[in-house]
């Protein structure tokens, strides 16, 4: 018999400062996440620069649901389930392409406009009088519940009813704004293919780790600590100008104080970020010509304000992270309770010097690649946790650092940068979006 079917069972997995291990290892919980959480939340789909022309499409998934993001003839971005209404064949298999004015199923050639509406069926008279047009399948490919394109970033909600985009993200959009405002043209473009890094662990471990500020100096001592040591052995001090790679990796070894002082901000609905006052990205050297370009676009005051923000990681619940100062987005795609695909995307700031893109690409391969000496130790920690959680001695996972009784996640808060409040915030939202659409029966039991 399946567990975790009722509201009470789901709520029982989360206490104010502990969560039950089944949240990470139980297949029934995972199935409920796909059915409820990933249907009710606003989930990142893709960036509209991936589909610049009409008919351009990109295939991905929302939770475990295969979807197609496509630019329709009216220039709007549509998100459709990647499934033929006839017998279920996936309509698009390529990761990206251009389909022209319509999709055509490769099996029996039913065709659909790029908003999903049925266009034609070969030998259509075979359906005359059968009532096909009265069925849902007879209308065409099914669209997801709602789509919102926010300054190029396309989010979707699978459920047709539910929380509005603005209410869901609200003030947390300031992090996306800052990343986009860093382009003098106010526009980002995806650069190249994403890194694709497979993790044999639960997706939430990766999301939690984005605001885990007590692990870099420990788990990454082997890479960042060694880098600092080699630098010293070469006769340099901390004050010498560093190559870009050192600028990126050395701050991982910063002392606890640095991370405490950087601050963590949480917003309602599970969003939050590290690096309120400063971050590991604060001390990157200036790229010639960039400030001038930004000033010309925004004026001096605004340009300075944009660059004064150096937010570290912003988590958009449930499963992406962005880095404004690096122009990066990581998408943690759940594949099973113990399997997650981490995609790491980078963006070009339109009209900014290309050296910024070079630094962004360097950061991506140094930190987030399957070949990364930093990524290796993160993955090792997640996979050890995934295995360790099966030990029966203890059933609960602790997220209590700097916990205060009666925490209110419905209002924005800024706290000490080593708090685990953002993890607690995520689990508060987790319960909310897991249970909001549970039926009366599920809720009553």
């Amino acid at each position: 018999m399946a567990h975790y079917e009722t509201r009470a069972e789901i709520e029982g997995l989360v206490t104010p400062f502990q969560v039950h291990r089944d949240i990470y290892i139980d297949q029934d919980v995972y199935r409920q996440e796909m059915k409820h959480l990933f249907a009710n939340a606003w989930v990142y789909v893709g960036h509209d620069s991936q589909t610049p022309n009409k008919g351009d499409y990109y295939t991905t998934q929302i939770g475990d649901q295969p979807v197609i993001m496509v630019r329709h003839t009216d220039n709007e971005i549509k998100v459709l389930y990647n499934r033929c209404p006839h017998k279920g064949t996936k309509i698009a298999i390529d990761r990206q392409g251009n389909t022209g004015k319509f999709f055509r199923c490769p099996y029996h050639a039913w065709s659909f406009k790029t908003d999903g509406c049925l266009l034609a069926i070969p030998l259509k008279k075979g359906y005359e009088g059968t009532g096909l047009s009265d069925t849902e399948n007879g209308k065409g490919m099914k669209a997801v519940g709602a789509v919102h394109n926010y300054r190029g970033f396309v989010f979707a909600r699978l459920a047709s009813e539910g929380i509005a985009f603005e209410e869901y993200f609200n003030d947390s959009l300031s992090s996306l704004d800052n990343m986009v405002d860093r382009s003098p043209a106010g526009r980002l473009e995806v650069v190249g293919a994403p890194l694709r890094y497979m993790h044999q662990c639960n997706w939430k471990m990766l999301v939690e780790n984005q605001t885990d500020t007590c692990h870099p100096m420990v788990a990454h001592e082997s890479s960042a600590g060694t880098a600092v040591q080699i630098w010293k052995d070469m006769g340099f001090t901390d004050d010498d100008p560093k190559p870009a790679a050192m600028e990126i990796i050395a701050p991982f070894m910063s002392a606890y104080e640095f991370f405490e002082d950087m601050g963590i901000r949480t917003w309602p609905n599970g969003h939050g970020h590290t690096g309120v006052h400063h971050s590991i990205h604060s001390k990157y050297s200036e790229i010639p010509g960039y400030m001038e370009a930004l000033t010309a676009a925004h004026g001096k005051e605004k340009a300075e304000a944009i660059l004064a923000e150096n937010r570290h990681n912003t988590v958009y619940f449930p499963n992406i992270m962005i880095k404004g100062p690096i122009q990066q987005l990581r998408n943690f795609i759940p594949l099973a309770a113990d399997r997650t695909l981490a995609e790491s995307w980078i963006f070009r700031l339109v009209d900014a010097p290309e050296e910024l893109t070079a630094r962004t690409a360097l950061y991506n391969r140094m930190i987030n690649a399957p070949t990364s000496i930093v990524g290796h130790d993160d993955l090792e920690m997640y996979e050890r946790a995934q295995e360790g959680l099966h030990a029966d001695g203890l059933e609960w996972v602790n997220i209590q650092r700097l916990y205060q009784e009666g925490e209110d996640f419905e209002t924005e808060a800024v706290e000490n940068g080593t708090t685990e409040r953002q993890m607690r915030n995520q689990f508060h939202a987790w319960v909310k979006f897991m249970t909001v659409s549970m039926t009366q029966k599920e809720a009553a039991e």
Partner: protein, 160 residues
């Protein structure tokens, strides 16, 4: 120094992968020019190592850091250590220019890496740009193109 022959180049490449398989990384580091780079593209036919993401594009500082980390006391992903194994085809020698001291080889190989109960295989093509410096061959650029560069990978911890 006498001219570098086809056999010299082939011996050099066989010796290089042997060092990697034996974990003789300090010796391996001696094989590089000062500004030599190790490049593993992320995309099939990728041309630009700088302005788009690669799996690796490492200079001598980064390579030194990478091999130094492998032997660190707190390198948790190397407890226990990984091992690797190269099986290479006879290299194609595409360029021998003894006048300029420049050479290019293309080597197809299978690379196997293992740790604990996991083992994986990568099929790849390595292109070496070699130069002659003070009578010895050095690697100026090693480009490693994975056949399945667009696949999702777990940890790849040693060097193909």
């Amino acid at each position: 120094m006498s001219d570098v022959t086809r056999d010299d180049l082939i011996d050099f490449l066989y010796e290089e992968v042997r060092m990697l398989d034996d974990g003789r990384f300090d010796e391996w580091m001696e094989l590089w020019t000062q500004d030599g780079h190790y490049w593993m593209p992320l995309n099939y036919n990728q041309q630009d190592p700088i302005n788009e993401t690669s799996l690796l594009y490492e200079d001598q500082f980064m390579l030194r850091l990478r091999i130094q980390r492998l032997i660190g006391a707190r390198t948790f992903s190397q407890k226990p250590k990984s091992r690797c194994h190269h099986v290479i085809q006879r290299p194609h020698v595409d360029e021998i220019d003894n006048e300029a001291g420049r050479y290019r080889t293309v080597t197809r190989m299978h690379y196997v890496e293992t740790r604990l109960d996991d083992q994986f295989l990568l099929a790849l093509t390595a292109t070496h740009d070699l130069v002659r410096q003070d009578g010895a061959l050095k690697i100026a650029l090693k480009k490693v193109e994975l056949l399945n560069c667009d696949a999702a990978f777990g940890n790849i911890q040693l060097l193909p």
